[in-house]
């Protein structure tokens, strides 16, 4: 019994040398040039997006809303302008065709 107590006491006396005081600093400094891997993952993206709105960050939220607005606006404009261009082309070809017909009759 006494031997067990003594044995535990001896084990607890095991010595660990003091850590160098600058070890934490060295590790932090060594990490600086590397940069963490920031690979794109959907979970990370969803987490960031939810945090933008759940934890209010007005600037980010405004920027996201603006980006969505500009994008949808661009979609609408480009579709509309394509239709208008096609209508103009049809009209001008009709006018040109008519003129040529008139010109031919006079000769």
């Amino acid at each position: 019994m006494r031997e067990d107590v003594l044995f535990d006491a001896i084990l607890r006396e095991r010595h660990v040398p003091e850590m160098p005081t600058n070890l934490a600093y060295r590790i932090i400094e060594a990490a600086k040039p590397r940069g963490a891997e920031k690979g794109f993952t959907w979970t990370a993206f969803q987490r960031v997006m939810s945090e933008i709105f759940v934890i209010p960050q007005p600037a980010f939220a405004m920027a996201v809303v603006l980006m969505i607005g500009v994008y949808s606006g661009m979609q609408y404009t480009s579709e509309q302008s394509m239709e208008m261009t096609m209508a103009r082309a049809n009209l001008s070809s009709f006018v040109v065709a008519d003129l040529s017909v008139d010109y031919g009759e006079f000769q």
Partner: protein, 196 residues
């Protein structure tokens, strides 16, 4: 800006996963001493233990996605596994220190008072005896006895069942007891005389 000092390890890790250097710094400062001691107990080499703990933290920084919060593991338990595995890798590459060597180093270089010498020799003998244990027994002893982890946590880190871990612990303590007893360290009056 959030006060990182009061945040949990797991919460800091989420910041680290986004490349937050400040959160990483807080995590390092908070745990470096504990993991340095753990690495030292595994390899019994001051320089090596510094390298191990540095390598482990840099590994965490360069690949923070290694830690998966959905598994619900505590950071410290998970990080013990990294430090332990790195230590084992280093030890395997390095030649094992024979039991008597540590004692010889102390007795050759130190010529101080008798008590101090006795303490040094005792530490050397203990360290040598622990280092001479089989790798898995030593790891089990370090994690449970010195790091204060529960049997379940230590078993998870080592990838064994709790029963197997308990068996490793019993064998480790038995072997150590035999070794220390053989050296006369378990009989108080005899201890001093044998080293005097």
């Amino acid at each position: 800006m959030a006060d990182y000092e009061t945040e949990t390890d797991e919460s800091l890790l989420v910041h680290v996963q986004r490349g937050d250097q400040r959160a990483f710094a807080v995590l390092v400062t908070r745990h470096v001493k504990k993991f340095h001691a753990a690495a030292y107990r595994m390899c019994s080499d001051a320089q090596e233990s510094e390298d191990i703990v540095q390598e482990a933290f840099l590994k965490l920084w360069s690949k923070p996605q290694m830690w998966d919060p959905s598994r619900g593991a505590k950071f410290s338990t998970w990080f013990y596994r990294i430090v332990t595995n790195l230590s084992i890798d280093k030890m395997r590459r390095k030649k094992a220190i024979p039991v008597g060597d540590v004692i010889d180093v102390f007795s050759d270089t130190r010529e101080s008072q008798e008590t101090e010498l006795y303490e040094k020799e005792k530490q050397g003998a203990l360290e040598g005896a622990i280092q001479s244990l089989p790798e898995r027994q030593k790891t089990a002893l370090n994690l449970c006895f010195y790091e204060g982890l529960s049997n379940r946590e230590a078993a998870d880190i080592m990838g064994v069942s709790v029963k197997a871990l308990e068996s490793l612990l019993v064998r480790a303590k038995g072997a150590l007891k035999d070794e220390l007893s053989r050296r006369g360290m378990l009989t108080e009056p005899a201890r001093r005389q044998s080293y005097a």
